[in-house]
Point group: C2
DNA sequence: AATCTGAACGCAAACGCTTGCGCAACCAAG
DNA sequence: CTTGGTTGCGCAAGCGTTTGCGTTCAGATT
């Protein structure tokens, strides 16, 4: 039925071990024999069984990638980039889509990647328990997006600096009532929303602005959530003249809410996002750009390096550059009294 | 180092075969023994080696998913949905991201999924050669998105009907100069752009409108491409008063181009897209909605069914519903002479 | 009481590779 | 012509499961 290494060996008149060595470029095979075996293997359409070879060798040539919400632009883009690096290096990727709390829990208790992968890349930093579970796998670990974590090589950005630049931009334009749409909920215990919020508060304090709890709302990192959050903020007794959304998707939701309320952007309300989503340019959204695909690529590369050079100590954390991109959703507030 | 089935067997005082049967719910094990084995296995943190078990059984409990451009909303969403179905059924997914022609070619010649997967789901229909390669794997095959193809269970939509409804909508509004931004280029040989174009031409013919080659441009299915294409169309001696873009992303690119040219939508130019992208609502884009996640879910389900009931003949093609969603980017053309 | 029947379990042979080791055959050096 | 060292290859023992078959033993049947 399916052609095995023995079929190739027989057809080439050599032993199975020689076939194995020849096809994998191992020494101990003369050039002529190797060429002949390669030809025979090609003719027979032979592919080594991954199960058998990884059972025998202990290496799987497979990388486990755990990611939440693959459908979202951010994670999809990171995944896309990381996959390209892995497959170019000859690794397959096993994908685990951990959106809901249940699937997430099930994954970390059952750990289906055990004995199946040579390394794990986590998009989004796992919490302490989850990290411990992953460490128990005994394979190199990396994470794209997030802060440092023991046992992991993580690539991320300076969330504080990014959020600061966004909020400071609004302050510099003259805004005093600055709202924030955060993204704290969900099953993901990460530092990003916390860091961005702290930056927001810090900049306000720095500018001598008293923070108003009524100007904070949760947008759940989705467009719909952003729309709801913006609607909430507009319902405040004194609505904001500017809003910092912790992600572009939420910012776009906010834009929709503003349009529904017949408010003009940036004339009535300024909006700044975070991520530089591929469509942010389309809607003219001012935002904090971060290298999204770049983080996936970098994390994948670092992981492969650990696989290639097992001895060396991997970097604990690498930080990618960010920059504020000014577009058309931010402007000075309207003069007081003009309504 | 790592705990094997023999460790469990020894600790439970039974043979390895009994452990195997017990843990997989096979008959031939008393309830007490099974319970005891389960407890011991849990205590030891035992997980069966997938390599070993698939080598012995021939089943991998893994599904290969090949997809182009995971980072794009459409494919990311389909993949997300399909993955959820697979993982809920206990299958792992092996992801192959086939964006560039090179990776695509390499995949189909080397077929790294051989002996590695129980079934293959292809997002985007493969061409004839590629289909033949996949069929040679001897496993169930499905595709999400596209028309019927021998050996495959494919779920898709009626592209012609969808495109017809979009273009007819423009015609009904009174437009006569209707442009199209198509998405034909790239390494993907699929029927979608062809079908949608044909529908466009048919509707025009039906309305007695002479098609103008200068009103067709390729947008490569990307935002940037759509922008370029729109710019091209605007450069025509007699620019269109309405544009049908074969995808929402291209439509958004078109919107951007129009804004750059200081043209108002829909006053100066109407735009209709295709897909109902999650952000289409934000920008108010009129579009043809299709169940994107739904197609992924459905294709995955049908594939699993084939795995569960090997005998039954799977459906060759299932068609999902579409509908035109009217928003704010389409309106009647301005009266003649008014510029 | 002898026989038959299942149920419950163990034995051992695969599954298809990898790899340490052994063994020729060859070459160059003494 | 003997040594010692390479080089090229085969042997066989795993790797950790699954599974067909054989065995044991308790309980039911004559």
């Amino acid at each position: 039925m399916t052609v095995s290494i023995n079929d190739v060996a027989r057809a080439a008149g050599v032993s199975a071990s020689t076939v194995s060595r020849a096809l994998r470029g191992r020494p101990g095979v003369s050039d002529e024999v190797r060429a002949q075996i390669t030809a025979v293997a090609a003719r027979l359409g032979y592919t080594a069984s991954r199960s058998a070879s990884s059972l025998a060798s202990g290496r799987t040539y497979t990388i486990g990638v755990v990611a939440p919400y693959i459908g979202r632009w951010f994670f999809g883009t990171v995944l896309d980039a990381a996959e390209q690096v892995f497959s170019a290096a000859g690794y397959d990727v096993l994908l685990y889509n951990l959106g809901s709390p249940e699937t997430r829990k099930r994954f970390f208790t059952k750990l289906p990647v055990r004995k199946r992968v040579d390394a794990v890349l986590s998009l989004l930093i796992p919490d302490e328990d989850e990290s411990a579970a992953l460490r128990s796998l005994g394979v190199p670990l990396a994470a794209a997006v997030g802060g440092p974590r023991p046992g992991f090589t993580v690539v991320g950005i300076d969330d504080r600096a990014g959020a600061e630049s966004a909020v400071r931009h609004l302050v510099n334009l003259g805004h005093r009532r600055i709202g924030m749409i955060s993204g704290t909920s969900g099953p993901l215990h990460w530092t990003t929303p916390v860091a961005r919020r702290q930056a927001y508060l810090d900049v306000l304090a720095d500018a001598g602005i008293e923070p108003d709890p009524a100007l904070e709302a949760d947008g759940e990192y989705t467009v719909e959530g952003g729309e709801r959050a913006m609607t909430e903020l507009l319902a405040a007794s004194r609505p904001p003249t500017a809003v910092f959304a912790q992600s572009d998707e939420m910012a776009m939701g906010a834009l929709r809410a503003l349009r529904r309320h017949r408010l003009r952007v940036p004339d009535d309300v300024s909006v700044v996002g975070f991520d530089d989503h591929e469509l942010s340019d389309v809607v003219g959204l001012t935002t904090v750009a971060q290298p999204v695909a770049g983080q996936g690529t970098e994390a994948a590369r670092l992981l492969l390096r650990q696989l290639d050079e097992p001895g060396t100590e991997p970097p604990g954390h690498v930080e990618m550059p960010i920059r504020l991109v000014l577009r058309e959703t931010t402007a000075p507030p309207r003069p007081r009294g003009v309504q």
